[in-house]
């Protein structure tokens, strides 16, 4: 618990997290205002149209993953892994604390990101006179799925950061995977691509794309990804010397 408090303080005490949050807020607002205002009415009518549009808050997952990655990589980049390890020689405890901190910060990113997109998007659609056809259950699934998915991306980020301690390497790997590799795989081989973490977490938000997994299966798949990365990251952390 002490180490978790320390990890949460690390997140709060630099401008990195605030920078990521500001970036998320700006991006979420920009996208929501532009798309909800400028999209033709014909693209806003079905439940899938509306769910897809209002699910943009899940972009918070990228920011949560980056924040998660930083939990390890910035320690290696600036050498604070040495005092951190001296004050807590249990690598397991360090990992579990960072993993938990990654999930918690991801949760906050998710609430802010999806909260903004959903509330402002819905407001603009109503002002434009769009009839909201999303059911209450669908809205709940979207909100819970986006927030929980983002929290899990915080965990995935921690795992990636533990596996690739080099900050530039980890960030590039993560972005290249999320924006390039997965989209290519899903585009060409959707039956495989839907099991990859980005598309599995998309499925958690409801019917935004036909080829995705059912939401509950998608949730399990993302949890599995975060746990597999965590197990590999923890094993490497224990094996590696702190130099």
């Amino acid at each position: 618990m002490n180490q978790l408090r320390a990890e949460l303080l690390k997140i709060r005490s630099t401008r990195t997290t605030i920078g990521l949050l500001v970036g998320l807020i700006v991006l979420a607002l920009l996208f929501t205002i532009l798309t909800c205002t400028l999209s033709p009415m014909s693209q806003l009518l079905t439940e899938q149209d509306q769910t897809s549009l209002l699910s943009f808050g899940s972009i918070a997952g990228v920011f949560a993953a980056l924040a998660g990655v930083m939990l390890f990589t910035s320690e290696y980049r600036f050498g604070t892994i040495r005092p951190t390890s001296l004050f807590n020689p249990s690598r397991n405890r360090i990992f579990v604390s960072k993993f938990t901190a990654g999930v918690l910060s991801g949760f906050v990113f998710g609430v802010i990101g999806e909260g903004l997109v959903f509330s402002i998007g819905l407001m603009i659609l109503k002002i434009r006179g769009v009839s909201i056809v999303m059911s209450g259950a669908n809205m709940t699934e979207l909100l819970v799925g986006a927030v929980v998915g983002t929290a899990l991306w915080g965990a995935v980020g921690v795992g990636v950061g533990a596996i690739v301690p080099n900050q530039v390497g980890a960030v590039i790997s993560l972005l290249a995977w999320g924006f390039v590799v997965e989209n290519l795989v899903f585009g060409f081989l959707p039956k495989i691509g839907r099991f990859l973490p980005v598309h599995a977490s998309d499925s958690m938000m409801g019917p935004i794309e036909d080829k995705l997994l059912p939401g509950n299966v998608g949730t399990l798949v993302v949890v599995a990804w975060s746990l597999v990365l965590a197990i590999i990251g923890m094993a490497l952390l224990k094996r590696r010397d702190v130099n």
């Binding site: 690390k10 990195t16 600036f78 050498g79 604070t80 040495r82 951190t84 004050f87 020689p89 702190v242």
Partner: protein
């Protein structure tokens, strides 16, 4: 009394390079030990193994009788500074200390105490990127002191410090050790620690090449004990009987080779010979150091 620090046959191999080679030494409580050697001699690797950051390839290292990572909250007994740059530049000095103190359940009040101790209270809330090297060294020391430790392990703490900073550090370490606490301080510059340490360990190519007090070491490697006495002939004879070779200096003092001040003084006392002057001289410490660390170690 058991040793505070104990290394037994400690080795560390990185690929083909044997960074630390069968190192065995012990450090007793209440001493300031200089851990010396040229850059790349294996000092930092040894300290990392001692502090549980690196796993030994062979042998083992213990502090207070246990491996570092098996001690209960080791930061409350051992303070260590390994690099002067181990800070996030965007974090304030105070927050750096708070994140460490929270990890071991110490209150923020302790953070403020150590900041005052290292005279950084005025800069505590500033981001570390605005700190001078001397301030960073002191912040590192503050982190090491958070747990009010009985042992301080410092890796090259005087690196980059100006003379005033070196003196501050020396005074600080003396005050710290005066209460019976122990310091292990590494350096590649003998002069930085010569006025601070009680005993020294010198390593070269990962191997221990000397372990002794400064006086002993100086005497052993070609230095001499210079003695002034009204009865120099009698003293020379007394020392000669103990196998100590003596000679006369230009100013008619007696130079005793291969021995220590304490031994000469004790022998003179036993023989009832008055001593007017008793100093270790000859090779400078730097010469001794260079002599020991320039030797090629057989592969």
């Amino acid at each position: 009394m058991s040793s505070v620090v104990q290394c037994d046959s400690l080795s560390k191999r990185y690929g083909d390079v044997l960074a630390v080679d069968d190192l065995t030494f012990a450090i007793e409580a209440g001493t300031i030990t200089g851990f010396l050697g040229p850059n790349g001699a294996g000092k930092s690797t040894t300290l990392r193994m001692l502090l549980g950051l690196a796993k030994p390839s062979a042998g083992h290292a213990t502090i207070f009788g246990s491996p570092y990572d098996q001690l209960e909250t080791p930061a409350l007994r051992i303070g260590a500074v390994l690099e002067a740059t181990d800070f996030h530049p965007g974090r304030s000095g105070r927050d750096h200390l708070r994140m460490l103190s929270q990890a071991v359940g110490l209150p923020d009040a302790r953070v403020d105490e150590v900041l005052t101790l290292v005279e950084l209270q005025g800069a505590a809330r500033r981001r570390v990127k605005g700190y001078s090297l001397g301030m960073r060294q002191r912040l590192g020391l503050a982190a090491a002191l958070l747990g009010n430790p009985d042992l301080l392990v410092l890796d090259e703490p005087a690196n980059g410090l100006d003379p005033e900073g070196v003196r501050w550090l020396r005074d600080f370490l003396r005050a710290f050790a005066s209460g019976g606490r122990t310091v292990l301080i590494s350096s590649h510059v003998l002069a930085e620690v010569a006025q601070t340490v009680d005993q020294i360990l010198i390593i070269n190519h990962g191997r221990l090449v000397a372990e002794s007090t400064l006086d002993d070491l100086t005497a052993r490697v070609g230095g001499a004990v210079r003695v002034q006495s009204p009865e120099l002939d009698k003293l020379a004879e007394t020392l000669g009987r103990e196998g100590i070779v003596t000679s006369r200096s230009n100013d008619h003092a007696l130079l005793a080779k291969g021995t220590t001040r304490e031994r000469v003084g004790d022998l003179a006392l036993a023989a009832g010979i008055a001593i007017y002057e008793l100093v270790t001289e000859g090779s400078s410490l730097e010469e001794v150091f260079l002599d020991l660390t320039s030797e090629e170690v057989p592969q």
